[in-house]
């Protein structure tokens, strides 16, 4: 065992102070504001897909703070739609992720708009407005797309919040096995 004894140095009190400060700011840290992890790199996995220990359910996150790209010219987004944060981190793969999301939208027109989330559940509606914002707590089972629709059910825009984790896992076949 190799232990660096820091008992008599100023570093131990400093560690306590750091931990205390971190605890004060945990709600902001837990839901990260940006994708800081390069999901394509790994020091241990020797597989072609180079999957890292810290993983994500969506390896190709869209830029969730900008209007989603339209699949064709006839479906150009008519509203700006932003969600923040765009990433939620859990301890283990498969756990639901709790996050407080800020939804913001802005349109050139006055519209009636609603935001829909997990399983198409209506989260918040605005009546006859050209902009709106809401701060809503969500428990996400996995990477989730939030859709902004008008009162006619026409999609105005969409944005996603990706779920990432520290420890990944896979479900192996259940049996006796030596190799």
């Amino acid at each position: 065992m190799t232990v660096i004894d820091l008992t008599r140095s100023a570093l131990v009190p400093f560690l306590f102070v750091c931990l205390f400060v971190l605890l004060l700011f945990l709600p902001a840290i837990g839901s990260t504001q940006e994708s800081a992890q390069d999901e394509g790199s790994s020091a241990l996995a020797d597989s072609a897909d180079a999957e890292s220990t810290a993983g994500s359910a969506n390896a190709s996150d869209s830029s969730v703070n900008e209007p989603a790209a339209a699949s064709d010219d006839s479906k150009k987004p008519v509203a700006e739609f932003k969600v923040s944060p765009n990433r939620c981190v859990t301890l283990r793969q498969g756990q639901p992720c709790f996050v407080r999301i800020r939804f913001e939208w802005q349109s050139n027109e006055v519209v009636k708009a609603c935001v829909y989330g997990v399983e198409g559940k209506e989260l918040r509606c605005w009546q006859a407005s050209s902009e709106g914002s809401a701060y809503i707590a969500q428990t996400l089972p996995n990477t989730t797309e939030f859709v902004l629709l008008n009162d006619e059910g026409v999609e105005l825009n969409r944005a996603s919040v990706s779920v990432a984790w520290v420890y990944k896992k896979k479900r192996s076949k259940r049996r006796w096995r030596l190799f």
Partner: protein
């Protein structure tokens, strides 16, 4: 920087020898945080670097009450073979084969390196008594997973001729998840044979002094209660905190090294997972 597989394994083995001796509850302490070991990704693993602040109410004269440490550990799995080194594990270093993995039960053939007893780093006066080698154990481990509950049983024997003792453990844990905060509670019992405890806490006539007279330890069972919390700060950093209460057996309490029949440890750490 990408390393070849054998280089990673070698690096992991080297790093895993550098460990913080914390305390109990075998790898159930790892499972309550990282999940089922038998669901680890094959041919993959991770390294951990922990920065810890520890409160130790150790029943050993002169032991430091506050300790700051840096520990290295991790996990690697090659097919069904695994290597484990975790700060929370009682066995500093473990390796084995996951022989069976069912919906509820997982059975491992387990090898472990375990060094316990009085550490001369805790008390310089005990240097003469603490030349104890780490024993190499071999045995089986069965772990049961049922929703938020984990049950684990171990039966190990010293195969390294250090003390030829035996070790039996039984533990149960429950986990809770609240707003990304992972809580767990654990109860455990650890039976060590007379040979095991006498090697760690006994004093033979050649070592005995007036302050530390001859003592022969019998077998005994240690009970531990643990509460912990883990929070992911990001994909690579986690915050951990663990409190443990130990009830020592009379065979240990009777040792001249030990001044109390129970003690408390509390640790808080930030771990970098790579």
């Amino acid at each position: 920087m990408r390393l070849k597989v054998h280089t990673r394994i070698l690096l992991f083995c080297v790093c895993s020898q550098i460990m913080l001796v914390s305390a109990f509850a075998a790898d159930i302490s790892r499972d309550v945080r990282a999940g089922r070991e038998d669901e680890s990704i094959e041919n993959d693993g991770y390294l951990e670097v922990s920065f810890s602040a520890i409160l130790n109410e150790m029943p050993i004269p002169g032991a430091d009450r506050y300790v700051g440490t840096i520990g290295l550990g991790g996990h690697y799995r090659y097919k069904r073979f695994f290597i484990d080194a975790h700060a929370e594990s009682y066995n500093q270093f473990q390796f084995g084969l996951n022989a069976y993995s069912g919906d509820i039960w997982s059975v491992d053939l387990l090898g472990a390196s375990s060094e316990h007893g009085v550490d001369s780093e805790l008390n310089r006066e005990l240097i003469a008594f603490t030349r104890r080698e780490a024993a190499g154990f071999l045995g089986v481990r069965a772990t049961g997973y049922n929703g938020p509950y984990i049950f684990q049983f171990e039966a190990l024997g010293d195969v390294s001729d250090v003390h030829d003792g035996a070790l039996l453990t039984a533990s149960a844990a429950r986990t809770w998840l609240y707003h990304n905060w992972n809580f767990h509670a654990l109860l455990g019992a650890r039976f060590e044979s007379a040979k095991t405890l006498d090697y760690q806490f006994g004093i033979d006539p050649l070592e005995a002094t007036a302050a530390y007279p001859v003592y022969e330890a019998d077998s005994g069972t240690t009970f531990v209660t643990e509460f912990g919390v883990t929070y992911p700060l990001s994909e690579n950093f986690i915050l951990k905190s663990t409190g443990r209460w130990w009830e020592l057996p009379s065979a240990v309490v009777g040792s001249p090294f030990i001044t109390n029949d129970s003690y408390l440890t509390f640790s808080a750490s930030i771990t970098f997972v790579y």
